[in-house]
Symmetry: C2
Amino acid sequence: MQTIEEILRAKKIKVTPQRMAVYSILKKTDSHPNVEMIYQKLKPDYPAMSLATIYKTVDVLKKVGLIQELSVGEGGLRYDAKIRPHSHVYCEICGKVDDVEQYPLNELQDRFLLEKVKNETGYDVSIVQLYFFGKCPQCSINKETKARGA
Amino acid sequence: MQTIEEILRAKKIKVTPQRMAVYSILKKTDSHPNVEMIYQKLKPDYPAMSLATIYKTVDVLKKVGLIQELSVGEGGLRYDAKIRPHSHVYCEICGKVDDVEQYPLNELQDRFLLEKVKNETGYDVSIVQLYFFGKCPQCSINKETKARGA
DNA sequence: ATTTCTGCAAATGCTTTGCATTGCA
DNA sequence: TGCAATGCAAAGCATTTGCAGAAAT
């Protein structure tokens, strides 16, 4: 089991408290936070950390491949330290993002499929993202409740 | 074959020249333009049309289901008047977006898969988006050329 | 006639940038 | 010590908002 520090060091980037803190937050959570959410989570422990640093840090972590960036269509981007293939489901009401493990995204990342896409489009494809959009359980319940007049 | 005007009227939204123009552009192109690109395309014929109107118009068209919104992670959103299931491939170098027809996205939109996702996550899923990221043919060639020192 | 849409300009808010200071290697 | 990262504040942009006039039903 590598420590956060060891992981960063292995990627050959300078190890700073800010980078460890951001990566650590992303490792621990499964809420796919955006920059502002990361900022809020870090505030209690790192009151001096600036938003600009978080923007720069997620860029670095993304470039070395430690985190992935999700674009769910709400303006800002979301971040996820889970690198293994999986897809995401987005609640169009409250904005929550959850992982979808079961669907075999690995099948989509299969070399054969990527070949097919390359043959059709000419693109050299390296990344596949699958998003589901809908309503999360909580928001579904709220709407039902409202509909019943409560 | 319905005219643009008939299509808008069928959706029960007010028919204006601006809405016809925006929808017409999106029907004709396959370049998945963002708001700014739509604005530039319309400028010659509608020099008075404002960007704000385009923002409002794509919102309306999206809400009535005439167009879909794509989020490819570059900040702004892209628009597509093709409603039939298909996926997209994004060039990470030049930002071009192309359709991917061949891959059976309908399979992904299959009720069975959506049920599986609902069972795992509890989300009520209505939309599926599949994105491929990579390098388009032109940008691949350019890089090769550069690499050869030309 | 009424309601809704458009276009303008201002306001907002997110993200980036420049630079002096700090901190890692 | 040298180079890179941080934090701050300002700048930069894309998007939204409010409202008066125009247009659609």
